[in-house]
Subunit: 288 residues, 2 copies
């Protein structure tokens, strides 16, 4: 039976350290969160980030805009945040309504305040190996691997998914030279042939595809470390709400063959929030 | 016996097309080449680029500076090129002397003139999947694969090397959605364990590590397409100069098992130059 990598507990420890760091520094880091429209999941995520900010002593300010906001107005909001001295980090909650080009919006954020690490310049610095801000989910996954005794160096890491928030930046991060890097990295996706053959060569298997319980036990070689990035809501007649959250991995079955595994919820999710907070604190320290 | 992928012939065809494009457009594209110090290999490469520019009708201007140039002076040279209307592309030949930080120098180039695609913003746009300029060597490799009937889509591409000029941008390029992408990509490097086991899973094996004849026949599964990016000068008593160029692949032995292979010289090298020219032409068209 696999060891459970307890992201919730690890994230709590990181938040406690950040709270101490902030108290000691005497500076209140500020995070501007732009929320466009009323996607229910986005509201939940923003509320969670806000609560986590409050817990550690970051001033979080949510700027809510309606789904039909014009691009220019949104860019003006970002410019205002760029100029504010008390705001050290800026994030724009995704997904954005279709009429707002995500790249244009992200590119408007001052790179030194782009704590999501999604501005093209910051994405480039990550691939070059001299990151300014590492995107929160990849950073959280690296932290989970290191803290659970699974240093990626020299291991074969197979990533399922080539998305802009996880798959691609994670591949860049884990293949780098230096501490926390050094993995041999394979990126698989919808176009991959013989997927199970490849996943069975993994020392570390990371699923970030958004397909509920896609990774089965047959795809995992005994002894593999499995990181589940997926957060999918599925119908569950037995649950009080009629639904429940599952990952991209069939947890019950895979836990029987894996050496270690992250649960959903309580694995990568809390780490993503903790790493965002860490990036905001780093941004505030950098400014000073 | 492997088919030989003739980069020299393919590159000649591309140069002919570019020459026609330039004649038809009535605009002379301009390339500024900054050459610092007197590294003999750099001089050879710059001379080759200059000759190729002349052939297709690009105005190339080489700015030579001594190896002890101060960073500020070099940055001033780049700023001057950034502002010139007749210069559409700028490259700084690498390697630079150690006192000049490559990232600082590259970041000074206006992103819309950065035809090497090495500015962090352009590196980021490549990883995001919306490239402005694709670095010449990865672009040339993709072209070689497509033109030799080896579309990377759905294939397992194993890249040896995680350098900033080839390995990392090539991985980003070949894993993208859309034409010329769609590969399952594995990046191997000095820290990779059981290298031969991984290389033998490749449909396409690309060597970019700078180690003469490192890839042996035992590392290649029959039927693999092999792309050799290495250019290494080794001693050869039988040669008139006492040396000769070899790639990262043991060509004679690997050609017996591979389905197709690029020679050195005459494979990737000419394509790199042709793709640089193409980027300069694109930069000039973009400006108009």
């Amino acid at each position: 039976m696999a060891a459970i990598i307890d992201g919730k507990a690890i994230a709590a420890g990181i938040r406690a350290r950040l709270r101490d760091d902030i108290t000691r520094s005497g500076i209140t880091p500020g995070l501007g969160i732009v929320l466009v429209g009323d996607d229910p999941a986005s509201r939940v995520y923003v509320a969670r980030k806000r609560a986590a900010c409050a817990e550690v002593g970051i001033h979080a300010e949510v700027i809510e805009r309606s789904a039909d906001i014009a691009l220019d107005e949104l860019l003006a909001d970002i410019r205002t945040l760029n100029e504010r001295e008390d705001i050290h980090g800026i994030i724009v909650q995704r997904p954005l309504p279709h009429h707002l080009d995500a790249l244009t919006v992200t590119s408007a954020i001052a790179p030194e305040k782009d704590v999501d690490g999604l501005h093209p310049e910051n994405v480039g610095l990550l691939l070059i190996g001299q990151p300014r801000f590492i995107p929160a989910t990849p950073k959280g996954i690296r932290e989970l691997l290191l803290r659970s005794g699974n240093d990626p160096a020299g291991r074969h890491v197979v990533i399922l998914g080539r998305g802009p928030l996880v798959g691609k930046p994670l591949a860049a991060l884990l293949m780098q030279r230096g501490p926390g890097g050094g993995a041999t990295v394979t990126v698989c996706h919808t176009g991959t042939r013989d997927l199970a053959t490849i996943t069975r060569t993994a020392d570390v298997l990371i699923a970030a595809i958004g397909k509920p319980r896609f990774v089965t036990a047959a795809m995992v070689r005994p002894g593999t470390v499995v990181i589940d990035v997926g957060i999918n809501r599925i119908a569950d007649p037995a649950a009080p709400t009629g639904t429940r959250l599952v990952g991209d991995v069939d947890f019950e079955a895979v836990a029987k063959v894996a050496a270690a595994i992250t649960p959903v919820p309580g694995g990568v999710g809390p780490m993503t929030v903790a790493m965002l907070l860490e990036n905001v604190v780093e941004a505030a320290q950098e400014r000073r």
